[in-house]
């Protein structure tokens, strides 16, 4: 074989949408933007934690936990960026931070990385893309997905299976043989840490993490499901990256929380682009990709209208 496979990136280069110099400039990594973003991230996290504390003895703790949960579930976006090694220039820092994020949102980092590779190879292809969220056929299925109940069920089952060293046929395909023992070990370590935390709470009698972490995480996850749906659901199930992925134009606070992952089509074109360079890449590619100018809500209007159309 003498020619590489055609990737969205090689296609963009061949079609002149990007030059090699532009690509090189877009891919440059630096620890500094991530450290700035993380500092603000910790401030926001401290703020929402304080809100939960201040609302402790009133009903307001529920909206406070919901708000806190929205921030917590966005550790997914940060972990996703770490999976691509594009948060920090220092590779190890990406792995360390990714593991921490994974622990917060119950998503083992190594497994996510392996799975996500296949998502990039087979984006939106039925039966191939392991992260594909099918277009719901009914409003009931739509709401059920948004409840995050199927998501948590799948996640807990997945971790339990991996801890027992069991992998599905699809997982056997995308987890390299050499990594399977490590994926199994990661799941066991994660479960052991959770067990230790709960034993610690039982022994000390301080159940604060239930209110600062567990309940907010479950309250916030539907928001992450709402956002994850906007990336591909309702887009054509074809290999063409300009069609199968949706970029959503959202306001600055959402861009901050999702580490610019709303520029999702751009990310799929050049997965090596760090989060801070995605707006620049958007300017280069915006005429060649599918852009939803109404943001997340617009994407859901599109999804709901497709469900409505299919039913009538």
């Amino acid at each position: 074989m003498t020619q590489g496979i055609v990737t969205p990136l090689s296609q963009a280069l061949a079609e002149g949408k990007l030059t090699r110099d532009e690509l090189k400039s877009l891919m440059q990594r630096s620890d500094r933007p991530a450290l700035r973003h993380l500092a603000l991230w910790l401030l926001v996290l401290t703020g929402t934690t304080m809100l939960v504390t201040l609302a402790w003895n009133s009903w307001l703790i529920w909206p406070a936990m919901f708000l806190h949960g929205i921030v917590l579930v966005h550790h997914f976006s940060l972990q996703h960026e770490c999976v691509h090694y594009t948060v920090f220039r220092t590779r190890k820092l990406n792995n360390i931070l990714g593991q921490i994020c994974g622990l917060i949102i119950v998503l083992p980092h190594r497994f996510f990385r392996d799975e996500h590779c296949d998502h990039h190879t087979y984006t939106q292809l039925p039966g191939e893309d392991p992260e594909r969220i099918p277009l719901p056929q009914t409003y009931g299925q739509y709401l059920l997905y948004l409840s995050a109940i199927p998501y948590w069920k799948a996640k807990f089952t997945e971790i339990a299976r991996h801890a027992m060293g069991q992998f599905s046929d699809v997982e056997e395909r995308f987890i390299p043989k050499e990594e399977q023992a490590s994926v199994c070990r990661d799941a066991r370590i994660m479960l052991a840490i959770y067990a230790l935390i709960f034993v610690g709470m039982a022994v000390t009698g301080w159940w604060g993490l239930i209110w600062y972490w567990v309940i907010p995480l479950f309250l916030g996850e539907p928001v992450m499901r709402f956002i994850r749906m906007t990336e591909h659901v309702g887009r054509p199930t074809v290999a063409q990256m300009s069609d199968n992925t949706r970029t959503n134009l959202v306001s600055a606070p959402w861009r901050f929380l999702c580490w610019n992952m709303n520029y999702h089509a751009e990310h799929h074109y050049v997965p090596l682009t760090p989060f801070h360079a995605l707006p620049r890449l958007h300017e280069k590619l915006k005429d060649d990709i599918h852009v939803e100018p109404r943001g997340y809500l617009g994407a859901h209007i599109d999804i709901l209208s497709q469900i409505h159309g299919a039913r009538s």
């Binding site: 074989m1 496979i5 990136l9 280069l13 590779r91 043989k177 990594e179 997965p271």
Partner: protein, 104 residues
């Protein structure tokens, strides 16, 4: 020592500084790396998914695949990050008269 003759690849001046440069040799594509400790070269295709490493991210001695971020040490071809698990083929390199030469 290999009997394979040395072959001119590219002028040193034409290499992208601190980056990877693509060179076509017949039907083969070679990735040439300008690193802090000298020039290295490998076949350009990732051993995992077959993507062109010349479109990847290069830093220090590590080339990262543009598709899945599997990574290799360009000095010896060893995979240093999954999903890459098989070494890439590195080539013997020398510089003569301002030209990068490889045995291929």
């Amino acid at each position: 020592m290999s009997d394979t003759p040395w072959r001119d690849l590219i002028a040193v001046d034409e290499l992208e500084t601190d980056w990877v440069t693509r060179v076509e040799v017949g039907r083969r594509t070679i990735a040439v790396y300008d690193t802090p400790t000298g020039i290295y070269a490998s076949l350009a295709l990732c051993t995992h998914g077959g993507a062109d490493l010349c479109d990847g991210y290069f830093d220090d001695h590590v080339i990262e695949c543009p598709l899945h971020q599997g990574a290799f040490d360009v000095r010896n071809g060893k995979p240093i990050a999954a999903p890459a698990t098989r070494a890439m083929k590195v080539l013997e390199v020398r510089v003569r008269d301002g030209k990068v030469q490889v045995r291929i």
